[in-house]
Symmetry: C4
Subunit: 318 residues, 4 copies
């Protein structure tokens, strides 16, 4: 891989990315397209490996509901078995006649107890059944307390709501060229004090060994006071840029990866939100410029941001 | 618009406001009077555009209650239809005789199940009805879990509780003049480490093109340790101020806008709170000074801050 | 008040305390002993002045419970009146005979509906009564959602749990003297990155006018990595100290006030907590030194912090 | 203890660790192995000393459940006694005949009221019993509000989920030696902006007095942008290191302690999380190097972090 020698020797190296340096033991890309690190963990027990709370916050809404529904059915089955084994004669007001019907009615009594709806047509009478029903009502309330907490945590989870352009471009810029990519907030949130970092990740050959190397990519503007319209991240390809001297072919042939990290402050919740992205060199369009994506509205009183144009570009001669 | 040449050429330009530079495609004022950016978004689906959670936090209290009430009625109507279609003979204890009455009673049974009040005069008997009631009780508890989370999020939402003077003034200040505006905390909260920024926004002509330009306005004092009494933001109009050389007429004729940004720390919740404001040049009184707004109480033991005087000013010769 | 000339002319002045400069309109001490600013607010409506949420977080536990209890009784009275006016014949299962008893039973039915306990001995039958009961069950659940949020906010409220010594001392220190005061964390919390600020507040005469002046007081150590044992704040009275040259009599005669501000990070909640205190000159003991307040335990395996000794001092010759 | 003279005189001293300097009154190690400070507190009342909220967040899951269960049983016992003393004839629907059975049924009625399950087979009839039941339902809801808050606080509590290597090593490093220890995130959380500090704690003899002294230990890398794979903290033993000149025997004989402090940002919750650790000199392996703990997976598409190898080392000649 002789083209690794192409890397600009003047470029600064970043040693604090949290990824390993030893390329011979490192597999695959650094960040997945969704911004998560491309690693797995072993040597640790299943339950120790996962934070159930973090997991329940990450599953999608439908699965979240199905997990809760499954838990609800399972708990009621367990208690239905217990009530049935103790004897349904301790449940006053039963109308079922066959055994399966009796089990079913015990199941519904369990659900009525667990949710504390407690209609009372069926009610516990013996000591054991009454005690277990009292215990079940407690566990029901605690379970719904957990569900309340989970649901609050899910929808108050700090989220950046940022869209990235699907491609990055190498565009003309003040007499030289620059790598540009574009991002925009797409929801009715207010983001301020936004800060971006670009890092180039490459596997290079150094003294005969393959090593992962990371290069910080300077931005024309690293911070904006408010993320109101779109923001174009501009990395000027100066003599100190790690991309200095790269040709169109180099971008096609080299397995480089551009890591994007964004941090902003969500005013409404007083939360810091973060967002990550990744562009491989294949996702860089050489010789292109982004089209504008905002315009006046008809009344000339408001500015309109058109998110459908986030990845729109035209050809540009470098 | 020849008066744009009046802008002080020595003034620094700010490039990180998050607003676009291209005035020809930009419409209207930058910030609305309530501090929100004056933009709208297109090119994105309705549901993708809004964060329902942010939206529910922004509607006023009455609408919030009406939305919940509407949801409650709608859910109960849906379940009432289901119970009615399955057959009200599976609801033990019904007393209704006509069909509309039966539907109504099914509706009330639904409400009693959804809220888990479960009086039990009416209770489900068949398998299907019992199963749906068990499911409805679950959805009821989960719905109220969401409502609990929303309500907590609403009233724990970090809010600055800051009032701004309705006008800004150009006042005499240490031999020169200064633009001043005043703000004060008006609730029983404790704000510390307050930090303010002023920015001048203008549409100017540069090389024949109309461009939005933003100028940071230096403050005599950018931070206070505690926001206890009122705080007067003072921008001295020195030779490096973007307002240097402006006459009374300039303020009347030019379409400038002064953007205020305030950040403080709410001790009670350990939250950073932010507040934004905007003054057009029409809201600047030339040749005026604010009147004091605090005084001793009668017993001479306490200081009284009179918020009714926040915008009080007297004429002052420059 | 000629002794105001005693203030060290080399001392730096602090202009960002958030208190006003104009002493002639300022009344009383700056901070109350509990750390709250000694001001009141007028010119604003009662409901606009208070954040009910902040207020409910500040009342003590008993009052909080009584307010909730009062609200509960009031709501049930209102609904009892409504049910009674509609007619108790629409409440199936009533056993009361006299009118007062009927009202009482309507009240208890209301409570059973509001809390969703819904025994069902009494149950609504008519359309109007059933509808109102369905509405009341909704308001009940929402009210308890508010109570849940309030309670969570109350006990998760960031609190510093810091005790201050009742007095400050002027003690010998490295050949000169120093003002010292002592603080210690007293609960089972873990505070890190603690940071302290001392400010001297005085009303002084300048060019014939009385003005409030604030002087930052440099500390030997402004930050500690962890607030584990006690922390003695030491302000060395060097030539640049505002207290330089003060005699024992000056401390007795002058109306000075030392403002303490502490900020720390509570590890458990990942919250910044703050604490404020205030010492008038009368609370400064001239010529004293604090006694040690920690020692080994008997087994020599642990260090014991004795909070009862926080204000213990011995005389010391300056 | 003459070997204290071995401490490098050029090493900087840290005075802001929050631990006391006076070794003669200080007992035991500084930090326990779990990272908590090794101190206890006296001179303060039991209830003032503990924050019940912090305590409930620190007990393990089982004890937490048992405390809630105990509270539930206790409250119901108290109310059962009250209902029993008022007279069970005011509880309509009782079927018990003997006195113990009546008390039991009162207990179950209490549980049904407290959880608001309210079957209604038993229901209050008299004024006093009805009033107390109404009060109990209120306390029940408030208790479960507290439980909801506690549970949410427990599982949303910011936690670092970091594992430390069991030993630290003195390894060859760029021509000199370095103290190294290793840490790794072990759950499915995303930690960014991680920052580490190492401090050496020693009891030394200075001018004939025993004093605790703390020395900051410089790290090759103090911050990483993301804590993705393992992180090896490297303290190069240069001429300014407090460990400069220590032999293998010194590590065996001296009672030194290395304190680790880690701070990171949990992206998912937008929380700062902290972690602490402590290595005594006995836990330092002289002349060793850590083995790599990550490798490619078979498909060469992903990197695998093997947490089982966190403490794996090989011998290394210094």
């Amino acid at each position: 891989m002789a083209f690794f020698k192409k890397i600009n020797q003047k470029a600064r190296v970043s040693s604090n990315t949290g990824f390993g340096d030893n390329a011979s033991s490192y597999g695959g890309r650094f960040l997945n397209k969704d911004g998560k690190a491309n690693i797995s963990k072993t040597g640790i027990g299943f339950f120790e490996k996962y934070s159930w709370f973090h997991s329940m916050l990450n599953v999608n809404g439908l699965n979240f509901f199905l997990i809760i529904l499954g838990f609800y059915v399972a708990v009621n089955l367990v208690f239905a078995v217990i009530y049935y084994l103790i004897g349904v004669e301790h449940l006053a007001g039963m109308i079922a006649k066959t055994e399966p019907e009796k089990f079913l009615e015990a199941f519904f009594f369990s659900a009525q107890t667990f949710t504390t709806v407690g209609y009372g047509r069926i009610s516990p009478s013996g000591f054991l059944t009454s005690g277990i029903a009292a215990f079940q009502a407690l566990t029901g309330l605690l379970s719904f307390a957990v569900a309340t907490g989970l649901m609050y945590a899910r929808f108050s989870k700090p989220t950046a709501f940022i869209k990235y352009s699907q491609i990055a471009v190498i565009a003309p810029y003040k007499g030289i060229t620059a790598l540009m990519l574009r991002l925009a907030p797409y929801k009715n949130t207010t983001l301020t004090d936004a800060e971006a970092k670009l890092t180039l990740g490459l596997t290079i050959e150094e003294n005969g060994k393959h090593l992962n190397r990371f290069f910080p990519m300077d931005l024309e503007l690293e911070k904006v006071n408010a993320l109101t319209l779109n923001w174009t991240l501009v990395h000027p390809i100066t003599e100190s840029s790690p991309l200095y001297g790269f040709s169109k072919e180099d971008f096609h042939n080299m397995p480089g990866e551009i890591l994007v990290f964004l941090k902003a402050f969500d005013d409404m919740f007083s939360n810091t939100v973060v967002s990550r992205g990744s562009y491989t060199f294949r996702e860089v369009v050489y010789g292109a410029a982004f089209n504008p994506m905002y315009h006046r509205d008809e009344s000339n009183n408001m500015t309109v941001l058109d998110l459908g144009k986030l990845s729109d570009y035209r050809e540009a001669t470098l």
